[in-house]
Symmetry: C2
Subunit: 234 residues, 2 copies
Amino acid sequence: KIVELVKEHFAPKKEQLLGGEKIVITAGPTRENIDPVRFFSNRSTGKMGYALAQAAKDLGADVTLISGPTNLTPPTGVTFVEVESAANMLDAVMNVFNDASVVIKSAAVADYHPKVTFGQKMKKKDGDLAIEMERTTDILKTLGQKKDGQLLVGFAAETEHVEEYAMKKLQTKNADLIVANNVSTEGAGFGGDTNIVTLFYKDGHHQDLPLLSKKDVSERIMNEVVNLLKERSK
Amino acid sequence: KIVELVKEHFAPKKEQLLGGEKIVITAGPTRENIDPVRFFSNRSTGKMGYALAQAAKDLGADVTLISGPTNLTPPTGVTFVEVESAANMLDAVMNVFNDASVVIKSAAVADYHPKVTFGQKMKKKDGDLAIEMERTTDILKTLGQKKDGQLLVGFAAETEHVEEYAMKKLQTKNADLIVANNVSTEGAGFGGDTNIVTLFYKDGHHQDLPLLSKKDVSERIMNEVVNLLKERSK
């Protein structure tokens, strides 16, 4: 810990290209409770989002990291908000959205949650069981509708038709940039320390990044954020 | 790490009360996949099971720890088998059951899994969704039916009617001991470092343990295992 702080102190400081920017980053999975013991979740580990928070902070941004349950330690110097469900995540994002200049939604938020959450552990019975699910509020779409100058970056984790789904997401969600990956590709996606992403832009072009560490991917994404903010202020 | 090994080396060695015993311990949650991204799981973190594996090893047992996904490091010197789903867990347990003298089932195995696991990420649609679930194989019950001299210890994690459910489990599963707790009680259950359990015995009596660290609970349970093995060999 001390070694880390000393190293950080003597590391060449990056140019503070995001100084003065308020950046909100969401990370990790959400958990949707069926009862006090059982839940739905997904394979997101939060590594991508925590790396983005670190990269944004290194460029001088004022960072709020809103995270579902992970085992990661938040970067020092960022405001950390821990949430559990998709509904909690929505509330936490809406609380800080108005003051934000950039929102990066890297969390893997549940699309569905159980219609009923039981207060006591559901006892198993013989036979089958249908769990009735309903849609959660689409956070990216909500932000896209409400945005008032904020730069909006979304993620698309797919296992097929990546380009098609990413372009559709860019348009229907009113996002400025979509970071898409095929999570079933070796070296990409959940859990690992590397990722292979493609950046999709509003004007229809896209940029493929090679296999990179999640740290390097984060730095590349933050550079794009810097560029998009510059273009905007022209 | 080195400090730990040195400490261990010089620690007073416990009496090897379980020397020569082959003990299988299951731990953690299971994950039941809906698709490559989404799954069902539960709040078990594996702490209780890993503490039991350590306690059994400290008493000289030959320990196999079969664990669902957790963030814990298995104790040194135990055979470690990592599994994901309830079906994987069943296979792993059956592989070692015949040679075991004691099986302690502390894992929180899913009771239900989706009838269909999709090969590609399910795309969300407008409207509700019913997920069709079917029962997984009841591992404790299966072991209870097949047991041939093995001592069988089960766990019951409940949020209400703990005694009633535990006694029922003891009888219907043909277990020798049930360790029951109310996971909604402060200081007991998933995630924390302490537990409050009650031990239920075949002859109908039970023993309440106070709030203890999971390490201490584990040592108390292993003492009971030693006693039950002694009784059996009379």
